[in-house]
Amino acid sequence: MNPFDARPAQELDAPPHVLALLHAAMLLLGLAPDEALAVSRTGGLVLEGLDLGFACDSADADGDDDRGAALVVAAQLPKGVLGTLAQRRSALLASTELMAFVGAAIACDRGQPRLISRWCIAGQSTAQFATWLRDFAKLGAGIAERQRAGDSVLAA
């Protein structure tokens, strides 16, 4: 065994309490202990068949410490979801509603569509985060499924 593998690098840049929250939520979602640790280390997870990635916003742009950190989560969607201009228009029309009702939006960077949302950690429990994350992944899977069925990204 390569000795350099003994302590894998911490890839997700986040304060300890955020990493602990992520780890605990993974256990609640039914991941094995070593898988849960891997998620809090890499910031990557497969849920509802989608690749999810986490980033932590612990920066304190407002200069107010009590706002606390937030976890930003992005679910990779199939590339075909935003293949045409009509699909991209429909995704943005849907994003207005998604932002208003669930705080998520559809994004695209260099041809890779994503569903992105943000979880403010302060005042919320691990169980609430885990439930929210599962619902978020289901929403992303639903959008991907609609695309496979030939429908627009979301029903108008």
Partner: protein, 157 residues
């Protein structure tokens, strides 16, 4: 704080909500009568840009939801506009709980969800000013890129 009879007659009737919105507008340098109207209605226009601010639970402590809109700049195709907004959505949530969408008329809509504990008017004002700055930067970036492309095309002809 004083509560007026009219304050409780509106859907967002919490007098604290009205005061918080009004005071946030005052922090942004809005004239008192306009700030007062914003306090009551949650709708204002700042430098020609519409801004809507509503509490999600009729509670000045938040959470709040704010939104603004921007028209597609002249000389920018619909495809360029849509792609710019989809690109901006990769970054918006990293700085705030904000995301771009589209209105049926083709205008960009920027929605910002403001978490609880934003009942301090100056904190609310910071969030609103960030919202306006974000939509300005995306619209100006798209407009400038289009102008540069047009200028390059003329040069190359």
């Amino acid at each position: 704080m004083t509560a007026s009879a009219s304050a409780s007659a509106t859907p967002s009737g919490h007098p604290g909500v009205h005061a918080c919105r009004r005071d946030a507008a005052l922090v942004l340098g809005i004239a008192a009568p306009v700030a007062s109207h914003f306090g009551e209605t949650g709708v204002i226009e700042i430098a020609g840009e519409p801004l809507v601010l509503q509490p999600l639970h009729d509670d000045p402590a938040g959470p709040w939801i704010a939104s603004t809109r921007a028209a597609r700049p002249d000389g920018v195709s619909e495809e360029t506009w849509i792609d710019a907004l989809l690109l901006a959505n990769n970054h918006a949530q990293l700085v705030a709980h904000a995301g771009f969408g589209l209105a049926p008329d083709g205008e960009a809509v920027l929605v910002l969800r403001i978490p609880p504990a934003h009942d301090d008017p100056s904190l609310l004002a910071i969030q609103l000013s960030g919202l306006l700055a974000l939509i300005d930067s995306v619209r100006d970036g798209v407009r400038n890129a289009a102008a540069t492309n047009a200028s390059l095309s003329r040069t190359l002809q």
